[in-house]
């Protein structure tokens, strides 16, 4: 009899321990990035790090560590991606929930899930072999590996998140809103534009934030398709190098515990904090639309 | 009156700040069938679930007063609820067989209580299924999933599962509310056949059912026991105005 209660208590403690692994991992990620990243500033002034001076940490005599250009590149590519994802995502989600028959939806939803399952390296590969030649031909460029290419690919990668969260938000709109609108003589389109979509504003915002977080943190596609130039981009046709790509390219080659090594952790810390902020914002928004839905 | 198996004394129950049971006094006779009736929301199921401390799962629930099982107050902090629930079994509103075979459902309670001797388990499975009038119907299907049985069979399986751990008391929480009339009468027949062997308490919203099976009936209203007595007396000559109105079907 006592054995039963021993195991009962044992597993309660063990499961509690397993639950704390998530907290420890998140805290561990933050602390390690902070610990390693902070050591950057032993040898590099913060003002030089957060500046538009060139990112050239491997230079022999005068290495420089400005992440300004990379930050701008990251934001440029992500903003471009959002321009693609938001309209396509909302349009598809609205189609799925307001126009498609249940049978059609049962076909389309797995298709969107399939798109989500495509590994980022495959999307990056297609960026090289499909999107780049197309862009080069269309805009008369030497090659199509640039910010626009990255934006298109990230837009595609963020689409499934945008579609599914927006669709959830549309479903959370209470049916009587729509009925009231129909009763006033509005047709389905007017109801969608003037009642349903405004009613799930916070849900669409949450979807946008989650898609944004996804695009900001994406590594392989931008690494493969954006041309990897460390200079400050002047437009969407310039080759760029994002923070994620920089870490991916350089971390494999630096000796441990050098200023260069630490500076890559500082880059990752900046990225981590941005995505964390975006995700927390998304969580706030999502909590709001879920509450409304009940 | 005969021996009291379970004696409820000055029981109050709160969910957060809301008081759901008020000063309940009730003696449950050993080997008898006691029915709890009353309009929905009167607290009869809540009272029933206090008797095997099912409210422990609810973090806001707070119980005060005493529930004496023989000579032990089960509300006392040192009560082992796992042991308590073995002594006080429960059958729920909807049949809830486990997603396993018919035999494993009945064997579940024996196994967790340390009985692993196969022939003995097999013998007791048969015995419990016979006692719950299910043996004839399922003896060839012991290794089939319990979820494939009909609703009435599932509920009788749940009763077989409950008696397999040899409890002293069985609590029924509206056991027939999800069943058709034929299944209902089989369950009632079964409950009557278990009389004397077990002390039984049944919550029901069906007054005919209370009259058919119960020795004693308690009428509850807004969290209080308004009247308690022999079933015949409650239905034929209720003393309290509220009871009179309820059993006459004026509200429900």
């Amino acid at each position: 009899m006592n054995r039963r209660f021993f195991w009962d208590r044992f597993f309660e403690k063990a499961l509690y321990g397993a639950a704390w692994v998530s907290v420890m991992t998140l805290a561990g990620i933050f602390l390690l990035l902070l610990y390693n990243g902070a050591q950057t500033f032993i040898s590099i002034a913060p003002g030089d790090f957060f500046s538009f001076s060139r990112w050239n940490p491997a230079a022999y005599d005068q290495p420089t560590f400005g992440i300004g250009a990379m930050l701008v590149s990251t934001l440029l590519v992500t903003a471009g991606a959002m321009c693609i994802t938001i309209p396509l995502g909302i349009g598809t989600a609205a189609f799925l929930s307001e126009m498609a028959s249940p049978r059609l939806r049962n076909v389309l939803k797995p298709a969107v899930e399939m798109l989500a399952a495509v590994p980022s390296v495959v999307i990056g590969f297609l960026g090289i072999v499909l999107v780049a030649p197309a862009l080069a031909a269309a805009f008369d460029l030497p090659n199509g590996l640039n910010a626009l290419n990255g934006a298109i690919l990230l837009g595609i990668m963020a689409l499934p998140t945008m579609v599914s969260v927006t669709e959830d938000a549309i479903h959370a709109v209470p049916g009587h809103y729509k009925e009231a609108s129909y009763a006033l003589g509005a047709n389905r389109w007017e109801t969608l534009v003037h009642v349903t979509l405004p009613a799930c504003k916070s849900g669409i915002l949450a979807a946008t934030m989650l898609a944004l977080g996804r695009a900001l943190g994406e590594t392989m596609t931008v690494l493969m398709a954006t041309g990897n130039a460390t200079s400050l981009p002047h437009g969407i046709f310039d080759p760029v190098r994002t923070i994620t790509a920089t870490v991916a390219i350089e971390m494999g080659e630096v000796p441990f515990d050098t200023p260069h090594f630490f500076s890559l952790f500082a880059c990752a810390l900046v990225l981590f904090l941005i995505t964390l902020a975006v995700n927390i914002l998304a969580e706030r928004m999502a909590a709001r639309f879920r509450k409304k839905g009940q | 009156m005969e021996k009291i198996k379970m004696d409820i004394q000055a029981l109050d129950l709160f969910f957060g700040k809301k008081q759901v049971l008020k000063n309940i006094h009730l003696g449950i006779g050993a080997g008898k069938i006691t029915a709890l009736i009353g309009p929905s929301g009167c607290g009869k199921s809540t009272l029933l679930r206090s008797l095997n401390r099912m409210h422990d799962l609810h973090p806001d629930a707070r119980l005060t007063g005493k529930i004496m099982l023989d000579d032990h107050n089960i509300l006392h902090g040192n009560t082992n609820v796992v042991h308590l629930r073995r002594r006080v079994g429960m059958v729920f509103q909807k049949p809830n067989p486990f997603p396993m075979t018919v035999a494993d459902n009945v064997a579940y309670g024996m196994k967790i209580n340390g009985l692993h001797d196969k022939p003995e388990v097999r013998r007791r499975i048969e015995q419990c299924l016979r006692s719950s009038f299910l043996w004839e119907e399922v003896s060839g299907e012991l290794d089939k999933s319990a979820l494939d049985l009909s609703g009435g069979q599932q509920q009788r399986l749940c009763i077989a599962r409950a008696i397999a751990v040899e409890p002293e008391i069985i609590l029924y929480d509206e056991p027939c509310s999800a069943l058709d009339p034929i299944s209902t009468s089989k369950i009632e027949e079964l409950i009557l056949s278990l009389r004397e062997k077990f002390t039984q308490v049944i919550v029901t919203h069906n007054m005919q059912q209370a009259q058919r099976v119960a020795d004693y009936t308690a009428f509850m209203y807004l969290g209080e026991v308004i009247e308690f007595g022999e079933t015949q007396q409650i239905f034929q000559s209720p003393r309290h105005e509220l009871t009179k109105n309820y059993v006459a079907g004026h509200f429900g």
């Binding site: 195991w7 397993a18 639950a19 298709a111 798109l115 995505t275 995700n279 969580e283 | 967790i112």
Partner: protein, 278 residues
């Protein structure tokens, strides 16, 4: 006028959907069209030859299979344990809210950051050489929030009455979880695990510095050996190779293999979910 606006608006929505579908179609079409000529049994079962310009991708398939399995073995007990705690035990207090918030935010951490974390914990911190083990554990941490979320959903779908039935028979909480709740949730948990496998199989960034190798002459013989992986192999063939145009067909066939692996896993998960949804 109203009708025309509506028609126009719906046409717009339809266009958006068609664009999304054609993107998926284009991806599949292009890869299958150009990958299929090279994709054959020999390609799947042979080592790369002549500086990866010929031969197959067997070591990459082998490595990806092993590293994904290791990631699941590592993440499964932790993920299921955490989900069981949150759904079956956790009181509503600030520790529970902290755990939940951590799980949600872990899901949003960029995969490259997991790579750095794996590098500094497992390799720098614990001194394990870059290998199947370190990469597997890193991928495991990445899939952890995902496994927790799907397991929790599966547990939520187990009716409360099933739990009460076990407790009312005098089962302890653990006996109730172990013998009644978990078996009922198996299809849902399995679906989540398979989807986690598929995610781990396709990830590249977390393994970049935690054990993946450009090329190995032999298959990894122990968890402490470096390994080749399908997604990394595709990355190498398409960007880092000295004869990129020449190996393009091989890159296509590699992409096709990777897609096939991922879709097969997803399809399996989909079937399990469809079969057990009553």
């Amino acid at each position: 006028m109203k009708k025309i606006t509506q028609l126009f608006g719906f046409a717009l929505l339809l266009t958006a959907t068609l664009v999304v579908l054609s993107i998926l179609g284009l991806i599949l079409f292009d890869i299958v069209l150009k990958g299929a000529p090279v994709f054959n049994w020999k390609f799947l079962t042979h080592f790369p030859q002549k500086g990866m310009t010929e031969g197959g991708i067997f070591p990459a398939i082998f490595g990806t299979t092993l590293v994904t399995l290791i990631s699941t073995v590592f993440a499964m007990p932790l993920g299921i344990g955490c989900a069981v705690y949150l759904n079956e035990y956790a009181p509503d207090n600030k520790f529970t809210r902290l755990i939940r918030a951590s799980v949600r935010n872990l899901a949003g951490v960029p995969s490259i950051v997991y790579g750095l974390f794996g590098l500094s914990i497992f390799i720098q911190g614990m001194g394990i050489p870059p290998s199947l083990l370190t990469a597997g554990c890193t991928l495991g941490l990445l899939t952890l929030p995902f496994i927790i979320a799907t397991t929790e959903e599966a547990l939520r779908n187990v009716p409360r009455l099933t739990r009460e039935g076990a407790l009312a028979l005098g089962a302890t909480r653990w006996e109730c979880v172990y013998s009644v709740v978990l078996p009922s949730a198996v299809p849902g948990i399995l679906t989540g695990l398979i989807l986690a496998l598929s995610r781990a199989a396709g990830e590249t960034a977390p393994i970049l510095f935690t054990g993946v190798a450009l090329y190995t002459r032999y298959l990894p013989a122990s968890p402490l050996d470096e390994f080749m992986a399908l997604p990394y192999h595709l990355y190498i063939l398409s960007t880092q190779h000295h004869a990129i145009e020449q190996v393009r067909p091989l890159a296509y066939a590699t992409a096709m293999t990777l897609l096939l692996v991922v879709f097969l896993l997803n399809f399996t998960a989909f079937r399990i979910r469809a079969t057990y949804k009553r």
